[in-house]
């Protein structure tokens, strides 16, 4: 089930919120409500993946059980073995469902074997909940948190539907307190609904619109330089509004149910370096890799050559997390390489450069990165990069490019404004005028909600990019 569907918004959500708040708190404990939330989450997951819901339940039970054992044997070496078994067990599902075919294809190509591919769909959200399970296990091992004794509470953490299938990657330590002792309040509920509606608007009113243009470019006969740039700008906006919109909705729903999920985006397209970009884009993922891969590898407290290797490993694995294909690995490696270049060569130059130049540099690197991300092959990615600079494009600007440039002029302007903190700043300014803010905010939210509903009812183009992961 996707958030941006009538089924979710006008059937599942009202019933779930009503059921949740009708479930009593017993002596201030939300345990019964956790049960309601877990039940709703399993229905939510099973809606799209009836069979795979059992897979997730198995992972919840094993991670929970292993972590109790890890804690129990924390004073001897068995804990480490248990931790490794638990982590490997969690990753084994991910490797089997997401990466097995990648390895088989490459093995077949290299060794000339003829191993049959696995014909299974990847369980939605497996990359997200696997990472949550793994981080929890490691945190218990390193005693950053106590193991959760109640399976129901732990399963609520892993499976809670707001963040289940496309993040943010919530660590157990982020919400351990909320799980057993959270506060529900109307102001928090209001904050959550506001955030949810904004996220829904990003998805329905902007991301989908740009997504259509991206698809048009792919089937168009016009592969001119201008149309390639239009495509890249559209994809850049689509992926941001799509993913950050989903994160907003997830964080908003978290508040509605009394949880505080971590932020996942902080206006990445205003970054002035690629290092800075990755502090603002998918923050929970880069934080995860920093804490559970980069630092265990030695981080930056190692010799230079080792540091370079660490950075490249971390970023190539980050790319691999996004997709089981070489272009994703290259995409990750590309960012790692750019960061190394920034650190060792151009960092100081960048610092001295005018802000506008730094911004152009970042966006150029990001544009090119998305060609790898969206392409089905290396060839396609390099072909599009070539066309960006007039190499391989039949013309500079075809009729179709100009048509869509005109057609998307206003959405592009809205998109460009939307990726900056300008709206937030205006909103904060309006907040200082209490009466205006009191009237304006609910009206704007109502308009966004109704327009999003209209787009939802009218349109069928509705994929979430990050569901692939």
């Amino acid at each position: 089930m996707v958030f941006s569907s009538p089924t979710f918004l006008y059937y599942f959500l009202p019933v779930t919120i009503a059921a949740y708040y009708l479930t009593p708190m017993i002596k201030g404990s939300p345990r019964l409500r956790n049960f309601t939330l877990l039940a709703a989450s399993l229905i939510f997951y099973a809606w799209g993946e009836p069979r795979y819901v059992f897979l997730m339940i198995i992972q919840c039970i094993t991670t929970w059980g292993f972590s109790l054992l890890i804690e129990k044997f924390s004073k001897n070496s068995a804990a480490k073995i248990l931790m490794l078994i638990s982590v490997l067990f969690s990753f084994s599902f991910l490797i089997y469902f997401k990466y097995a075919n990648f390895f088989i294809i490459n093995l077949n190509n290299l060794a000339g074997t003829d191993i049959a591919l696995i014909r299974l769909l990847m369980p939605i959200g497996i990359s997200f909940y696997t990472f949550q399970n793994v981080s929890y296990t490691i945190d218990v091992y390193y005693k950053k948190t106590e193991a959760q004794r109640n399976l129901l509470d732990f399963s609520t953490y892993v499976a809670s539907f707001p963040q289940l299938i496309a993040g943010p990657i919530v660590r157990y330590t982020d919400i351990a307190h909320d799980l057993i002792n959270r506060v529900h309040s109307w102001p928090r509920f209001a904050m959550g609904t506001r955030r949810f509606i904004i996220g829904l608007g990003k998805k329905m009113l902007l991301a989908n619109l740009f997504g259509e243009l991206v698809e048009i470019y792919k089937i168009s006969g016009d592969q001119s330089t201008v149309f390639t740039w239009i495509y890249l700008v559209a994809y850049t906006l689509q992926i941001y509004f799509d993913f950050s919109g989903y994160s907003d909705m997830a964080i908003g729903l978290g508040h509605v149910f009394g949880f505080k999920f971590p932020e996942n985006f902080n206006y990445p397209y205003i970054a002035d370096s690629i290092t800075n970009f990755w502090r603002r884009w998918h923050m929970t993922l880069s934080g995860w890799f920093r804490d559970y891969l980069y630092i265990p590898l030695g981080g930056n407290r190692v010799k230079t050559y080792r540091f370079i290797i660490n950075i490249l490993i971390v970023w190539m694995v980050t790319g691999f997390w996004h997709g089981a294909d070489w272009n994703f690995i290259l995409w990750g490696g590309y960012f790692g390489a750019v960061m190394l270049i920034e650190k060792f060569f151009v960092g100081k130059l960048l610092d001295k450069s005018p802000k506008v130049l730094r911004h152009i540099y970042v966006m150029l690197i990001v544009f090119m990165s998305w060609t790898f991300f969206d392409a089905l092959s290396f060839h396609e990615a390099f072909e599009r990069i070539g066309r960006m600079f007039g190499i391989g494009s039949e013309m500079f600007a075809g009729n179709e490019a100009l048509y869509y440039l005109r057609s998307y002029a206003i959405p592009f302007i809205i998109g460009f404004i939307g990726v900056t903190p300008l709206v937030k700043k205006i909103s904060e300014k309006i907040d200082t005028k209490k009466t205006l803010s009191t009237i304006l905010e609910p009206v704007v939210l109502a308009v966004i909600l109704l327009l999003s509903t209209a787009a939802m009812v009218d349109g069928s183009f509705n994929p979430f990019i990050y569901f692939r992961f």
């Binding site: 009538p6 506060v183 609904t193 869509y404």
Partner: protein
């Protein structure tokens, strides 16, 4: 639940969320579903069967999504709001491929798919194969999509590219180019089809190209009434209707293949009852029909086998001045192999394959 008192702004924001979601949830439950989605000319999805098998396979969930979207309360109003957003606020030229143009009205991009054109052409070649050895004069033509007549460039159909493919595929047949006889006004503004009262030049071009010396007579045009075409509903915003006019060609005898009895039953050229139905364009030769025979005893003794789509329904009556018998065949509704059961092909006759871009772009639609 309270920790601090809620501000009025927060109260209003929560009210908006709960109000909109709650009210629409309740209305979706209590307001009965429409039997037909009139503006979209289709039956809404049915509520799916609920049992362990459909749930476990995911079929229930998938069909529920379709049902929930189709049965959403105020569906047309919401669609209109979205159309307003796209066309009036975003000022976009089209909404998911549905364009609006000052001179051709509303239409849908018919993006030319080269592979589909080739595959459809192969099916047409297969159909033409039934005339092997019959010494037929075989002609073909493609009806341009109305977007090619738009005042400003619209993406999609490129006539020259279509013709290049067809020249290559139908090297042995004679091509009749009708685009030069047409203009924007030949098409309804709210529909994909052409207006029968505006295509006399097209009909004349076809007849001349097929060797008919007949000059088309001027028959009276009769107004059937206001007509909102297929795009009016898709567009969702208010639109002025077109006026549907038909050309009253006298002394025609029309028989239709009755798909139940497999007999040819006589019927009208223009079915005014169907004009008031779901698709008013079905007024012409009763719309979707596998096989029709039109006879004109006053016309020269010639036969034409016309393979056509819905455009052909309004065109065929105009060709009757030059043919005593026109057999109108729609391969979307009858398989090629069955034609011999109903038609005795007369050697030396004319054969015309004439389709619009929609057919060429959907290769599996022709049963040949």
């Amino acid at each position: 639940m309270e920790k601090r008192k809620m501000t009025i702004k927060e109260l209003l924001s929560v009210s908006v969320f709960i109000g909109v979601i709650g009210i629409l949830f309740v209305l979706n439950l209590i307001i009965p579903s429409p039997e037909v989605l009139v503006s979209e000319r289709r039956i809404p999805a049915r509520f799916p069967d609920f049992n362990t098998s459909t749930v476990y396979s995911g079929e229930f969930m998938k069909k529920f999504e379709d049902w929930a979207a189709d049965h959403f309360v105020f569906r047309d109003k919401f669609r209109a709001i979205n159309a307003f957003l796209v066309f009036e606020v975003y000022r976009q030229n089209d909404k998911s491929g549905l364009y609006r143009s000052s001179n051709v009205g509303i239409g849908e991009f018919q993006r030319l798919s080269e592979s589909s054109f080739r595959q459809t052409s192969l099916r047409i070649l297969r159909a033409a194969g039934i005339f092997d050895g019959l010494d037929m004069n075989i002609y073909y033509s493609v009806i341009p999509d109305k977007s090619v007549f738009a005042e400003r460039y619209l993406p999609g159909f490129i006539m020259e590219k279509a013709e290049d493919i067809l020249f290559e595929m139908f090297a042995d047949f004679e091509y009749i180019r009708v685009i030069d006889e047409m203009r924007a006004e030949c098409f309804y503004r709210t529909d994909l089809h052409w207006d029968q009262s505006m295509i006399a030049n097209t009909a004349q071009k076809l007849l001349s190209s097929m060797g008919a010396e007949t000059k088309l007579e001027s028959h009276p045009a009769v107004v059937a009434g206001d007509f909102k075409g297929v795009y009016a509903g898709q567009y969702a915003l208010p639109l002025e209707p077109d006026v549907m006019t038909y050309i009253d060609v006298p002394n025609l005898k029309v028989t239709y293949l009755n798909e139940r009895s497999l007999e040819m039953d006589e019927g009208p050229v223009y079915d005014l009852v169907r004009f008031r139905g779901v698709d008013p364009y079905d007024i012409f030769l009763r719309g979707p029909q596998p096989l029709i025979v039109i006879e004109n005893e006053n016309a020269p003794q010639r036969e034409l086998y016309m393979f056509r789509d819905s455009f052909g329904s309004s065109l065929a009556p105009l060709l009757t001045d030059a043919y005593s018998k026109i057999v109108v065949i729609d391969l979307r509704y009858i398989h090629l192999s069955l034609l011999g059961n109903f038609i005795d092909f007369v050697p030396g006759s004319d054969v015309l394959f004439m389709y619009g871009s929609q057919i060429f772009n959907n290769p599996t639609i022709l049963q040949s």
